[in-house]
Amino acid sequence: MKQFKILEKKDFPQFIKRLSKKHKVVAPVSRGNKSYAFTQVDSSDQIAMKYIPTILPPKKYFMPQRETLAQYNKSKKTFQTVLEFEELVIFGVHTCDLAGIQCLNIVFSDTPKDINYIARKNRILIIGLECNDYCDEYASCKVMDSHHPNGGYDLFFTELKESFIVHVNTLEGEGIIELTGLFKEATSNHLKEREGVIAAKKKIFKDEVDVHYKDLKPMFDKSAGSKVWEDLEKRCLSCGNCTNVCPTCYCFDIIDEINLDLDTGYRIRQWDSCQNEDFAKVAGGESFREERGQRQRHRYMRKFSYPVERYARHFCTGCGRCSRTCMAKINLKETINALAKENR
């Protein structure tokens, strides 16, 4: 009970104001055309409280699109590894994206640990925001069990009629409660209202595909020679949009950049995509996933099979971004249903 606090809706502007005075706060902001992006805010007016998943997931703060790993000076013979970070509060993270951050945490905390990621993650506070209804038809968060929170936040906001009920999950979250000084204790009526929201969600959120959660991996494991991949082979343009917007795609390239003095420069890592033709190419000339269909199959296997074996977790959060962004209209729900149909 004491883990739940209440923020009256009328106090919300003051909450963002006080929070952004002390911290850099980022939140979903409308970019027009039904597009949203996590952007720095200092006022609640800027925040889109009802939004469909942002163009890029909060991954961009944990694993920046471009990051310096080391800086070197050839004449001085120095090569210094570095960490780039930013202290940050992310407000309004939906449960699908909380799940996405949890997936990245697992990968980069697995040995050998990625110190850059871990050090950056530890400086970011996360305030989640419950979805009381579906964002749009692309989402499949129920079947992936990420339509409700499974941890992964410091504070979690659920919208009630007059207020937000806020779950305090960490000491750092409690720090925000104290810093802003706007929260009251939740009463039993508030808790009852919250239970009502959760009960209503149970009626709204239903499995979005024709396969049950636990049957997804076995289905994908049998799919190697499926006609579905042949179909994607014909449609996919290898643009890599699906992997860029995916909250759990973390493949990267490491390249050196040299300054105009031809002496100093940086070793950087940047997002890469398994959909690119030369992604799995080796010195001998062989490319181990030469066909687009093979690369699409690989993308799906990296969501629904391989990580389940390695980490006992699906790396799809059902956010729907890959389907929303695909120029060729490759749709995750349709792919799953097509595989399911083949299996019957």
């Binding site: 013979k77 780039e84 970070f85 990267f252 490491i254 890469d272 992604f279 080796v282 010195a283």
Partner: protein, 278 residues
């Protein structure tokens, strides 16, 4: 965005010096390297390092020497990309940086006491040499040793002097073949698979260790299975282009395996059902 120095990172490099460099073929160059710290690389046969040159980047290169040689280690580099192109211009005395060693090498403790059949095709001799020389340096610990070597033409043969010695040793059965002969060649001509049926071996206690280009694996493995060597006793080393070496970047993924961490050495048993391995 703040930037601070990081004392602990998977991307820290070890400064090293090239102590010997010589071209081997038109495309391959040999390097002997010492870590500037004076420490041994302390690798296992079959592991690889990331060679780094600031400005040129880094690339995965197999260690070609046996860990029984402690003070330095050998690399053979094919001129195939940015980093390797820069490397080909380096000579004794030049500096490079090293990360690693990385990956799972050959399971030497499991191989001890067993017979070994080495099959190397083309550049496969480069990583396999680390194990062959380890076995020769610890010859007493192993059973019968067969080495089969294949390359495209006689001029593509790497480590010719060493290979000749293997041929002369009494404690090693050696045979080699070229796909295409030249006027001076007096040995076998034909694919490496043609050498396997003639090898006299005890399948139950023989480990087949195969390293070569992807196309070679399918045919050689088939021959070894025909000889009744069990799948778990057939070892391969798979080539992928690792970018990080620490199981994150995704480039070297083979199905559920990260070649840089789970490999590059696998048993055939581990990969035979993997659709992306061979």
């Amino acid at each position: 965005m703040k930037r601070v120095d990081l004392k602990e990172s998977e991307y820290i490099v070890k400064p090293a010096t090239i102590i010997k460099a010589k071209p081997m073929t038109a495309l391959e160059k040999f390097f002997e390297i010492e870590l500037d710290s004076g420490a041994s690389l302390d690798h296992e046969p079959g592991q690889f390092v990331m060679v780094s040159i600031p400005g040129a980047g880094d690339a995965p290169i197999s260690v070609s020497s046996s860990p029984t040689k402690r003070s330095s280690f050998d690399l053979v580099v094919r001129n195939a990309g940015k980093l390797t192109g820069v490397m080909h211009r380096l000579n004794a005395g030049d500096k490079i940086d090293i990360r690693g060693p990385f990956g799972r090498g050959f399971p030497i403790r499991i191989l001890e006491g067993n017979d070994l059949l080495f099959v190397a095709g083309g550049l496969g001799i480069v990583p396999l040499r680390s194990l062959i020389n380890f076995v020769i340096d610890n010859r007493r610990d192993f059973g019968r040793v067969n080495i089969l070597l294949g390359c495209k033409t006689p001029s593509d043969m790497l480590f010719g002097d060493e290979v000749e010695q293997w041929g002369q040793r009494l404690d090693v059965n050696f045979n080699c073949t070229v796909d295409k002969s030249d006027p001076d060649w007096k040995g076998n001509v034909g694919l490496i698979t043609s050498l396997i049926p003639g090898v006299n071996l005890d399948a139950e206690k023989t480990f087949g260790v195969v390293v070569g280009p992807p196309v070679m694996y399918k045919f050689v493995i088939k021959e070894l299975l025909n000889k009744d060597i069990p799948a778990r006793q057939i070892l391969v080393s798979l080539e992928r282009h690792m970018k990080c070496g620490v199981g994150k970047c995704g480039h070297c993924q083979i199905g559920n395996y990260y070649c840089c961490q789970d490999g590059p050495v696998f048993t055939y048993e581990e990969i035979k059902d993997n659709i992306e391995a061979l």
